[in-house]
């Protein structure tokens, strides 16, 4: 059992929870998107912490690959969400 692993995983959990809370409680779309990104960051932190095998030891590459994929997916989703939000803003301004 590694303290580092636990600590970072714990931080990941906190980030996830914070993100969920933010995503649910914020009224602004952009803030919600930020919150979801933070949530994602928490999950990634958790995964990387899981991969950690201790100082000097090679970490498990699989979660790293997963997180890399996850980051790209997250940014894609963010991009689409932002485009929608912007479009909505335009529609609101027009209407």
């Amino acid at each position: 059992m590694l303290t580092t692993q636990i600590l970072y995983a714990l931080a990941g959990c906190v980030l996830l929870a914070l993100g969920v809370r933010g995503a649910l409680l914020h009224a602004s779309v952009l803030l919600r998107i930020v919150a979801i990104n933070i949530m994602g960051a928490g999950v990634f932190l958790l995964l990387i912490a899981v991969a950690y095998r201790g100082p000097g030891l090679a970490a498990d590459p699989v979660p790293h690959a997963l997180v890399l994929t996850g980051i790209v997916v997250a940014v894609s989703a963010t991009a689409l969400a932002l485009a929608l939000a912007r479009r909505l803003q335009v529609e609101r301004d027009d209407g």
């Binding site: 929870a17 009224a27 779309v29 933070i38 090679a58 790209v72 940014v75 894609s76 485009a83």
Partner: protein
């Protein structure tokens, strides 16, 4: 660094991570929140480094912190600050406010419970011996994967299918963005200082991208980091107010967008037709095929991220222009 120093470092890092996240979510000022989020991204990149995940650290720095932040900031550009609540038409009264308070606390508590549960589960998971079967299998097969960086091996060989779909996700996102119509024209041009900065920043970024791509095979780096860096160059140019940011238009643009998925798929299907499994590279060819895929992917990623940043299809490339005739009216009921 000794272990005590490490613990202090860890503590500071974790505190700043949590603190930044908290701060970023506690504010209702969108821009402030975004900047704090970008800061969080940078700190996280450090954390990845600390956890011996340099590939992720690079990607986080380039994408998580950099591009996401840029996207968010660009979106926040036209918005009043702070934003009005999304559902202004929802009836609000004192009772509802009271309910809202209860709800806030309930959600907070439930989130705390969520975190608690996760921690409990993780503690339990960590208390068992680590599962090393998969890492061992990877190192055993690394030689056949065509690359020496295990992360790249997983990404582009063992779990290449994930990556293929991930590129498809990216493509979907940008197509979705396109579907929403024209790009919002014109950003506020940056100042002269920034303009000066651009002159040397862009070539550096492009060079970095090339290096990252090449290095990916054996060291931290790869198509995503490279693509993100390349996109960053475009973003910088755009922020400098340049209209021409190196993006082609029309068919070429679509080719570049499709290239990542296309080459990936082409390789996979060619192998399939040659009697190998889908994406089952012959070990001798694996390195070159992966590099080929990665190159195409880099361009696609760069173009896609840039387009996402632009928030839509650049003008004159829109197929809108192709046909604007009105749909002929049908006999109504």
């Amino acid at each position: 660094m000794n272990s005590a120093g490490l613990i202090v470092f860890d503590a500071l890092l974790l505190l700043s991570i949590v603190g930044l996240a908290w701060a970023s979510l506690a504010t209702t000022d969108v821009r402030r929140s975004i900047i704090l989020f970008m800061a969080l991204g940078l700190v996280l990149a450090v954390a990845w480094g600390r956890l011996l995940a340099p590939d992720v650290a690079l990607a986080e720095a380039a994408i998580g912190a950099g591009l996401s932040g840029a996207l968010l900031l660009a979106a926040a550009h036209g918005q009043p600050s702070p934003l009005p609540p999304e559902s202004t038409n929802a009836p609000r009264n004192h009772g509802a406010a009271g309910m809202g308070m209860v709800l806030r606390w309930a959600i907070t508590l439930l989130c705390a419970a969520l975190a608690g549960t996760l921690v409990w589960a993780l503690l339990h998971a960590f208390s068992n011996p680590q599962h090393d079967m998969l890492p061992r299998a990877i190192s055993a097969n690394l030689a056949a994967s065509g690359v020496s960086n295990p992360v790249t091996a997983v990404l582009l060989n063992f779990r290449a299918y994930d990556t293929l779909l991930e590129l498809a996700v990216l493509l979907t996102a940008v197509l979705g963005t396109f579907a929403l119509g024209q790009a919002t024209p014109g950003y506020r041009p940056a100042g002269l200082v920034f303009d000066g900065l651009v002159r040397w920043l862009v070539p550096v970024l492009i060079l970095t991208a090339g290096y990252l791509l090449w290095a990916g095979a054996h060291a931290p780096g790869g198509a995503f980091q490279a693509g993100a860096t390349l996109a960053a160059a475009g973003v910088v140019l755009r922020l400098a107010g340049r209209t021409r940011i190196g993006l082609p238009v029309g068919f070429m643009l679509r080719m570049i967008m499709a290239a990542g998925v296309g080459v990936f798929l082409l390789v996979g299907l060619t192998l399939l037709l040659l009697g190998r499994p889908f994406l089952g590279y012959p070990p001798a060819w694996a390195g070159s095929l992966i590099l080929m895929i990665e190159t195409a992917a880099m361009f696609s990623i760069a173009a896609t991220l840039l387009l996402a940043f632009l928030g839509g299809q650049p003008e004159s490339t829109d197929v809108n222009a192709v046909a604007n005739r009105q749909r002929e009216e049908d006999p109504r009921c």
